[in-house]
Amino acid sequence: MNVIEINQLTKYYGKHRGIENVSFSVEKGEIFGFIGPNGAGKSTTIRALLSLIYPTSGTATIFGKDCIKYGKEIRKDIGYLPSEVFYYENMKVIEVLKYSASFYDDVDMSRIQTLSQTMDLDLNKRIDDLSYGNKKKVGIVQGLLHEPKLIILDEPTGGLDPLMQQKFFDLIRIENEKGATVLFSSHILTEVQKLCRRVAIIKDGSIVKVENLQDMRQHNYKKFTIEFENVVDPAAFGFEGITSLTQEETTLHFLYKGDINKVINRLQGKVLRNMLVEEPTLEEIFMHYYQKEN
């Protein structure tokens, strides 16, 4: 069963494009990554899911119900952590959390204590005395407090130090094991890599690809670094399957997808100093998706 189903979702702000024909679905119980550079449309998609904005066309359903029509009902089971968190400045942390809890039925209030202990958050501080990272922690506790069935994270790790990021990821994993579905938007691939099995890649408002991370990394691409004795003509490697080809003096860098023997054949008769064949990082594959579009 799909928890999120987005179908041809389009949003224009006047003439300005937000997203165009975005379609993908998130299965129940998975941690789904949503990656793309800033301004690609990640937040627009998420804000439409939460009915903070109204789509120009297309539909999105959560738990099988239309996002706009049944927004109020659906939001009972959603926990949302925005990229930048802002709360009522004159309130104390505990007051914000209690106010947040007051919107939901049957909230286990002891979770305030346990979650804030895990995230090392002082409940008695005023919001305007908190640093950016600490505000983020309030956001995390606030988003997870009511044990949501769907957790939507929009660039959640900004401002958190690596230790806190780790604790945060652990929390997300625990919620996920308890059955929560997670939509994780980010432009940092390594963190998506840590958590997600599947990702949707968005660029300039459109989904470029929805892919299995394992497939993406292991079965498709190899990253070649070849250092030759002399300067070679990179045109010799301009065949199909080769992308992101760059040359630095006598060294060639490229990504390759396809039959490995083709590359080996091209190397015949050439004198090499060194050669590296690696798994590309997601970052590099990612860049490749963007370049291909251009």
Binding site: Y13, K72, E84, V85, Y87, Y104
Partner: protein, 265 residues
Amino acid sequence: MNILKQELKMGRKSLIVWCVSLIGVFLLFMLMYVSISDQLAEFQKVFDSFPVEFRRAFAAENLNLDTVMGFYPFAMTYILLAGAVQAMNLGVSVLSSEVREKTGDFLFVKPVSRFRIVSMKMMAVFVQIVIINAVFFIASRLILEMISTADYDNNLYLLLTGTLFFIQIFFASFGFFISAFLRRIKTVLPISMGVVFLFYIIFLLNETLKDVKLGYISPFDYFALAAISKTMSYDSVYLVVWTFLVFLFVYLTFYLFAKKDLPSI
């Protein structure tokens, strides 16, 4: 109810400041009356010697210093102006603050409908206006009792003081509408001051022009204190217009806000 409670809690300090200021301004005017009361006849002459346009522009055309109720509208004029600014501030900021303070991403992802959020916030403004009016009624009554040497017309007192409530409700609802209509409001006070004084200038202009149509534009005309003092009642046509406009603004606020995109941070 949690939203209502939250709004009232957040507006508490500002409400207290406004209450104190209104009473302070009122007290100042009434003390002025006391200090000139032994030379009233001379002051009356001075006022009467001003050209009528000038007196109208100060909303003091029919200033009658013989009784405290003759002076009362003069003080009330400034209370109405301040009250209008306060109510408009409340109206404009109650919805727009979620966008300005960027807390919209907190409130609007909660399982509540926009209709409920808007109605609870309107309710909070209404409660605050009721409170400020109740406080002002009590305070003005006490001050009048203290300074007036003779009896005054109680009906007229109630009618004149009641205009504050009607003016405030009008400007609050107009504020709601503006905040739903504009995409993003950076600062509230210039808008409130601008709108209130614009309407007040139209009112003053019409005091001189006496144009019936122009009278419908400014709410200050609906509850013109001089007219109320003369007729001892509110104008029923203006009351109908007032009711219609308040309902229209509230309706449009719900309508526009239901479809509004919340700008991202």
